[in-house]
Symmetry: C2
Subunit: 283 residues, 2 copies
């Protein structure tokens, strides 16, 4: 059984940056470091951070907090203001691409556009974007029907959305709006990972998608693979693997979300090798 | 044989306005009135204007010109400047929707966008738009491959383009450009006429499309009908009709471009009645 691993699997730039910041702070043995919500969407990494003394909190005004790290997904403006008043050290680990999207949401609102955010309304990144986008802003997901819109519509995109969803949305908006301004804030590594995973899914007999079940981009990869269609398993750790999945399988593909650490991917690879896999060259 | 006529067939707002302006000037018996190029794309109307003493000219500096009427499609900026120096009365019959598109092309260029004009590079309206759009501007038609573009792309549309062409173009641009600003300058009457004609073409046995062979929007109607597919004839006047086209036909549909006058449409209707047609209620 041949094992293929996607080259773009695992930590993206923004996640790596946030993790590096947090672990560097942990190294200094500083006490009372907290993250504003989970730093990234991977429970195993959050556990490791906790072991190093860094835990997520919602209680940012609590006693004993010496530093607050803002999560990669960014936070809403009112929470950011609360954080800035908390009186402790503030470290912004918001992904720079998310910061840019927040900036564009604010700019579009200031320029008089009704801001439409393409994404998942329940995702923390989108909740953050909404807070910058003004009172007329709305969130639409890829399948949403278009509501009544103003004549000037500005669009920003949750950084992990697929580009096809953006194309569909702007096609619909162009029919209704007289003026439309679009910032394609989809991050390159997301687009690349989706493309690479799609190609791989078309060439293997089973796909193993590794990453947090609360990770939107990982879930999206799993959905994409399943829709090819190819038999797909979404797991968080190697412990979930079952030898039965690989009976009669010639090729297995491994991909992982932007918040999945290398050590988990390596564990998964090793475990599949133990089951009888042999590593092939890249994708 | 039943005859259906499209409600939106014939003169649009901009053409009607231009024709009203020209005939009102002719009424005053003023000598030396010329149009800068053909006022609209309908040879029969141009002939009528000529009978009234108003002819198209390219020689705008010639002696004996007392007034110049700018054509509905608009003219390029350098020609407009030449016209303004001609020292005669200047009457702007540019369709207000085209004027708006020119304004947006200029604005996008001033705001630092590379302007992409969706349309036919050889059409006078598009030549005019190009002159406002700056040196980086390009024209793309509906089927064009996307060339390399700058990261900020601004889009304006020839007013008579179909909205589907705009949707395809912006989908392609969104994949490449980081920022895209779109002015949907397609005029409503064009969109309406296309939709109405498409519905009609699906319900009749033969379509008669009436209008100038040099009229882009009429040609587009004929192409749309033929693609349904339904047997389609594009004619300029009733004289081109042939009784043979209607043998065994139960329903005939008539539509006409934005530059086709009512008297030509009425002639066509009358001639088809003579052949054996009977008028139905509207579309």
């Amino acid at each position: 059984m041949e094992i293929l691993t996607a080259k773009g699997a695992g930590f993206c730039f923004g996640v790596k940056r946030a993790i590096d910041i947090a672990f560097a702070m942990a190294e200094k043995k500083q006490k009372g470091i907290y993250t504003v919500g989970p730093l990234i969407h991977n429970p195993q990494v959050i556990d490791r951070l906790r072991e190093k003394g860094i835990a997520p909190t919602e209680e940012i005004e609590a006693a004993g907090i010496s530093a607050l790290i803002i999560r990669t997904h960014g936070i809403p403006l009112d929470l950011r203001e609360r954080v800035s008043r908390a009186g402790c050290e503030i470290v912004d680990a918001t992904c720079p691409f998310v910061t840019k999207a927040q900036h564009y949401a604010k700019l579009l609102n200031e320029e008089g556009y009704q801001v439409v955010i393409l994404g998942d309304a329940n995702h923390p990144e989108v909740k953050g974007l909404m807070s910058y986008a003004g009172e007329n802003a709305i969130v639409l997901d890829a399948t949403a029907e278009l509501p009544e819109l103003k004549s000037k519509v500005g669009i920003v995109v949750q950084t992990t959305q697929p580009v096809d969803a953006l194309k569909r949305l702007i096609g619909k908006v162009a029919e209704k709006a007289k003026e439309m301004k679009v910032y394609n804030t989809i991050c390159n590594s997301t687009a690349l990972r989706l493309r690479e995973t799609e190609t791989m899914a078309g060439r293997v007999d089973v796909m193993i998608v590794v990453g947090g079940r609360n990770s939107a981009n990982t879930t999206q990869l799993a959905r994409l693979c399943a829709s090819k269609p190819v038999k797909t398993y979404h797991i968080e750790t190697a412990d979930e693997l079952s030898a039965q999945w690989f009976g009669g399988i010639k090729k297995v593909g491994i991909t992982a979300g932007a918040s999945t650490p290398d050590w988990i991917i390596d564990d998964v690879k090793k475990r599949i090798k133990d089951i009888g896999g042999e590593e092939a060259d890249g994708t």
